[in-house]
Subunit: 339 residues, 2 copies
Amino acid sequence: MPNTLNRQIILKKRPRGLPRPDNFGYREMALPALKDGQILLRNLYLSLDPAIRGWMDEGEESYQPPIPLDHVMRAVTVAEVVESQNAAYAPGDFIMGLNGWEDYSISTGTGFVNKIPADNKLPLSIYLSVLGTTGLTAYFGLLDVGKPKSGETVLISAAAGAVGSVVGQIARINGCRTVGIAGGAEKCRQLVELFGFDEAIDYKSTADLEREINLKCPKGIDVYFDNVGGAMLEAALNCLKDGARIVMCGAISTYNATEPVPGPSNLWQLLVHNARLEGFIVSKYASRFPEGVSQLAQWLLDGSLQHREHVVPGLKNAPDAFLKLFNGENTGKLIIQMD
Amino acid sequence: MPNTLNRQIILKKRPRGLPRPDNFGYREMALPALKDGQILLRNLYLSLDPAIRGWMDEGEESYQPPIPLDHVMRAVTVAEVVESQNAAYAPGDFIMGLNGWEDYSISTGTGFVNKIPADNKLPLSIYLSVLGTTGLTAYFGLLDVGKPKSGETVLISAAAGAVGSVVGQIARINGCRTVGIAGGAEKCRQLVELFGFDEAIDYKSTADLEREINLKCPKGIDVYFDNVGGAMLEAALNCLKDGARIVMCGAISTYNATEPVPGPSNLWQLLVHNARLEGFIVSKYASRFPEGVSQLAQWLLDGSLQHREHVVPGLKNAPDAFLKLFNGENTGKLIIQMD
């Protein structure tokens, strides 16, 4: 599509601490011609996730390389194939994959790019939430790393968030008692009424989180699904049952730190309780994504899985929307709908 | 044995930080008459272990209750049954069990007490080292928690210590490349020459431990068997291979801390590497001790397992000897031979 302008949000300046609007830039670029094997994608939805914050830093070894300065911001998107020089893709196909904060992305069609089934009946944005890495992170993290058994107690931090809310529901479907930690009365109400958690803990109105966890998990924690790290992890470590599993999914409390944040001083609890702390990255399970998508879709269709999306329209609103992730303002999976 | 005096080392004052001689007291007590079901044990060897330091503190939940003030210090001992009101034990039997820093202990014959086979041909003290909780900790911690596979790299801290030296040898027997961290040239020489480690790292002469680990583990760490915690754990976390397992066996670097010691600031590495940190207490494996003892004894007898004991004679020397554990002065498993 020669002469087509591609609007892009770029990384202008690396953030120190919490990102600010001036970390981002905006530009319009002409699209280059497609090379052999490439496909041209029109992005329809962008997924805004806490992990993007890590890609904005330089240097640190991570599971994705840093975004270079003056390059387009990176995100998982749902996109339509509009041109193809790759036999595996045809115009009109829809895909979910790792692309950019931009109107059009060019992909080799390999790596992190998944076709959305042609007979899909669900709204496309769901491939960025429950049927995307968010839902898959919840599915494999809870079931494969946490290994909950029926009757066990599962504690979840950032439980009203995109991952946490799905974790809690999968735990409930598997017969577990579920306790969610979230910030504010409204989110806690959602946990119980919308997502079916057994108990909710409002960390913002609790002076002693450890005491509150002990009250709500009187037999102790069998599985702690941790999206937060920091003081919340430290409190949970003091409430473990023997043989407990802590799933380390994220540590949003530390993503914007400008200095190294010390870890919990009570890791010793892992020893006393024959317990484990295990990290994981969902891409480890890439070969099993079809299994996860199929099971999650079934739960969506039979009504046992609820989800919420927080859809913000307009590419240019992406930077402001992204900041909501870190002050807890988003309600449900944060998605940009392209204009 | 009425009129027999029992010499005891007692907990006189709880330590704050490193224990000092005045934390301990000495007394002589008359032995009470045995009650039905009890056995009277004459202690022959006392095992001095870092874990005893934890039992000297009050309050903290741990796998053993605190030693009450003015009560006898606790230790695993090898003892001879000298009187029995319990049909399961006869005078002349030898046992290994949890008793006290004293000439005689009275036991119910239940709980942590194991008979030493009547046909035992090995020196009795070995039931406090390789065939005691030390060796069993190495055996189950490495094989069941660490799950090393042939060809993998196993890093061990406090590698010249009683547990670490056995861990390294079991890893080698299982076809792993073994790298030990110890303090001082002499201990490092032992690691390689006596215990057959592939590489040794002298943390005392190394300014940058992380760099040294990377040099000695060029493919990264598959299993880290950690007896130390603290800065050593932080350095190892930065050198993990994908899928690494950290066995948290102890954290001697923190046992004498008077304030909570922050954990490593890079637990995030567990996430990036799909890795785990798992604590364990050997008593979890109590039902499988015979398997462990049998395998360890076989390795001792066929010469594939070397061990060193540091035997200090005399009950009254126990407090001073105990302190050696924390300044690294002991060479091999520290044992008091009763006088």
